[in-house]
């Protein structure tokens, strides 16, 4: 025995202690300040330095904001008003340009009287996402989600409704064929379900479309891709890219883990190639090279082409994020699924992916946010992104020549709001899943 056990009197507790409520949380502003900002000399010095930096920034930029002019018809007028009010040396923001041209920053060159179409599309986006995000909603609503991309396409670009209906019909045809033929052969079903719709689109779509358009001409005014711009363009490409890159990224991540040599190699080569190449290169591929691979005469829309390459780009990153999630799962999960007799795809869908995706949410959302911001790079292939092309277009007008910071700030604020909302939503989702599972 060591002398730690100095107390040698035997002891037995005869009354058990009752449970007590925890002490009330100690609070107070002074206490908080002392603990967080002035806990040591070094900490206090850092705090003072921080306050000084913030002060200098505000002192320098605040007047610019305070002198801001909202009502003016041109930059000259703005400057005149500021000079008159704050003296000749004063500088100030000319927010009038935003007031005049905000619609171009948001909608590009989309005709003003048709703004309801992108707005409706945007509202419907949330309706379409609802059944995916809230699983307690009735499952039939998912059909609306599936139909949404085509509806959105029609609303945004307009034109006859029949090609859109035909595309949808092709997909349904494929689905039905897959169902029926898979009774005999899974591979045959897959091939037939791809080949038949493609043949339908290639050969029957044109003539049927002509007839139907003649019989029942239902059409919206067509809007060309060159009239898209600003946030409309960024959101179309961003949302399209997000929606398509998530499933593709999942496939690539699973492919990279596959036991099948060919699938594994293809996935690795694809992921590493895409990650090794700058997005701009891919965008140039979209604008020029892709045309060589398509049959001559096909006029494949530039926005669609860009969307596809943006999708491929972010899918490669998503795949790596999800691979991290998959690797974080204990091997026992796979073994338990196997031991219960669940086949590969079921085990992935029911056991592995729900857990792996949950772990990967922060990484996935970061990738999405990055991708959304990167959509501004489409300026390099002649599309009107909100950050460069649209402000340039505004500056080309005589009245706004020389305006610089105001559009940037406006665009920056909108990007921030959208991205911050995405990030907050992802944190909410994580917390909800955490609560569900523990």
């Amino acid at each position: 025995m060591s002398d730690l056990h100095a107390q040698t009197v035997p002891y037995v507790r005869d009354t058990m202690l009752p449970e007590q409520s925890p002490p009330a949380a100690q609070s107070g502003a002074v206490r908080w300040l002392r603990e967080n900002l002035f806990s040591s000399w070094f900490n206090a010095a850092l705090t003072l330095l921080g306050v000084a930096v913030i002060y200098f920034f505000i002192a320098h930029y605040f007047p610019w904001f305070r002198h801001g002019v909202w009502n003016a018809a041109s930059l000259q007028e703005c400057r005149a008003i500021i000079a008159e009010k704050w003296g000749p040396e004063a500088s100030g923001a000319c927010w009038a340009v935003i007031r005049e041209r905000w619609n171009q920053i948001i909608f590009g060159f989309y005709p003003t009287e048709l703004y309801w179409r992108p707005i409706l599309t945007f509202v419907l986006l949330f309706v379409a996402m609802a059944p995916v995000l809230y699983t307690q909603l009735p499952r039939v609503l998912l059909w609306g989600t599936v139909a949404y991309p085509l509806v959105a396409m029609w609303l945004l670009w307009g034109g006859s409704i029949w090609p859109v209906v035909m595309i949808a019909f092709g997909f349904m045809l494929g689905g039905v064929i897959l169902r029926i033929v898979s009774r005999w052969s899974a591979l045959g079903a897959l091939v037939a379900a791809i080949v038949v719709p493609v043949l339908f689109w290639a050969f029957l779509m044109g003539p049927i479309d002509d007839d139907l358009s003649y019989i029942a001409p239902i059409a919206l005014r067509p809007i060309g891709s060159d009239q898209f711009g600003g946030f409309l363009l960024a959101i179309v490409i961003g949302v399209g890219g997000i929606v398509m890159s998530l499933p593709l990224g999942i496939m690539l991540a699973l492919g990279r883990q596959s036991d099948m040599f060919l699938i594994k190699t293809l996935s690795v080569v694809f992921i590493e190639f895409i990650r090794g190449v700058p997005l701009i290169t891919l965008l140039f591929v979209a604008s020029t090279l892709l045309n060589y691979f398509l049959p001559p005469g096909t006029n494949f829309d530039i926005i669609l082409r860009v969307m596809i390459l943006v999708t491929l780009f972010s899918a490669a990153y998503i795949a790596e994020v999800i691979r991290g999630g998959l690797a974080a799962l204990p091997r026992g999960q796979y073994e338990a699924a196997d031991a219960l007799g669940l086949e590969y795809w079921r085990a992935q869908r029911l056991i592995i992916l729900p857990q792996a995706l949950k772990i990967s949410i922060p990484g996935i959302v970061s990738t999405f946010i990055g991708m959304f911001k990167d959509t501004t790079l489409v300026t390099f292939v002649g599309l009107y992104d909100p950050l460069k092309s649209i402000p340039d277009a505004i500056r080309n007008n005589f009245e706004w020549k020389g305006i610089y910071w105001e559009p940037f700030i406006f665009v920056g604020v909108i990007f921030f709001v959208l991205n911050f909302a995405m990030s907050r939503y992802s944190m909410y989702l994580e917390r909800r899943l955490q609560r569900d599972h523990h």
Partner: protein, 261 residues
């Protein structure tokens, strides 16, 4: 508690002559490492077998070969009349007949206890959801945790989780159950509740193959104890003779380490 004496008193009572598992000349390598060497083992329906042996002797590997969590490289394994080959159909058939309980439970943490139990019956056996839930509740009652059905695994104690894992396997109505050290990750006071569940299962005539260091359980429940060392079956005998009259030196050494002090 179940009554182990009744089982131990008549080890061969409810054992039929029908073969549940037959392993012939089975070999397995991990790379160049020969883990399992010429394993020969026949398990009859209703038999309760305990596999013992030092760490690294290949016990886990052997029972994991029976439901093809590990692939063997030569020899033959026939489970319930189906030979395990590369044919996926056979593997799925065997897996749906053989339940497995793991050392670390391996419950699905994102699903409730009830969902853990109904998942495989619904997706593999195509049982309607209502029926699967009734079956699940039946087995959860059997392992004495029906009131936890709507909780998540993370909220349960280790012993409770392991009993859920047993119930989850039973929901597939397996004809054979494999246990790989089901109590090794548990605190002493939880070991008993899991062993009780297993004893009850044994009383009902389930064919069981159980890797465990619980020698009390082996003496009470097993018809046969198999001793493995260095990837081989070194000795097999009924529990009484195995513990009181071991033949090989390896067995004696192992028993003295595990029982005597």
């Amino acid at each position: 508690m179940a009554n182990p004496e009744r089982l131990a008193g008549a080890p061969e009572a409810n054992v039929s002559t029908e073969e549940a598992i037959r392993i012939e000349n089975m070999n397995k390598w991990y790379g160049s490492f020969h883990v399992l060497r010429d394993i020969d083992l026949t398990v009859h329906r209703g038999e309760r077998i305990v596999v013992a042996g030092p760490s690294g002797s290949g016990k886990s590997t052997m029972i994991r070969c029976i439901n093809r969590l590990e692939e063997h490289q030569s020899g033959k394994i026939v489970v319930d009349g189906t030979e395990l080959t590369n044919d996926l159909k056979n593997i799925d058939k065997v897996r749906s007949e053989v339940g497995m309980v793991f050392q670390h439970f391996n419950l699905f943490p994102h699903l409730t206890i009830l969902e853990n139990c109904t998942l495989a019956p619904i997706w593999v056996r195509k049982v309607p959801k209502r029926e699967a839930e009734e079956t699940a509740m039946h087995f959860l009652e059997k392992v004495k945790i029906p009131d936890q059905a709507h909780k998540y695994p993370g909220m349960l104690s280790g012993g409770q989780q392991q009993r859920v894992a047993i119930a989850r396997s039973l929901c597939m109505k397996p004809r054979i159950m494999l246990f790989d050290e089901p109590t090794s990750a548990l605190d002493p006071e939880m070991i008993k509740e899991v062993l009780d569940t297993m004893i009850e299962l044994a009383e009902e005539g389930m064919t069981m193959l159980c890797v465990t260091h619980e020698m009390g359980f082996a003496q009470a429940v097993a018809n046969r104890v198999i001793f493995m060392a260095d990837g081989q079956i070194v000795e097999q005998n009924n529990p009484h003779d195995f513990f009181h009259n071991p033949q090989s030196e390896r067995t004696k050494q192992f028993l003295s380490q595990i029982l005597g002090h």
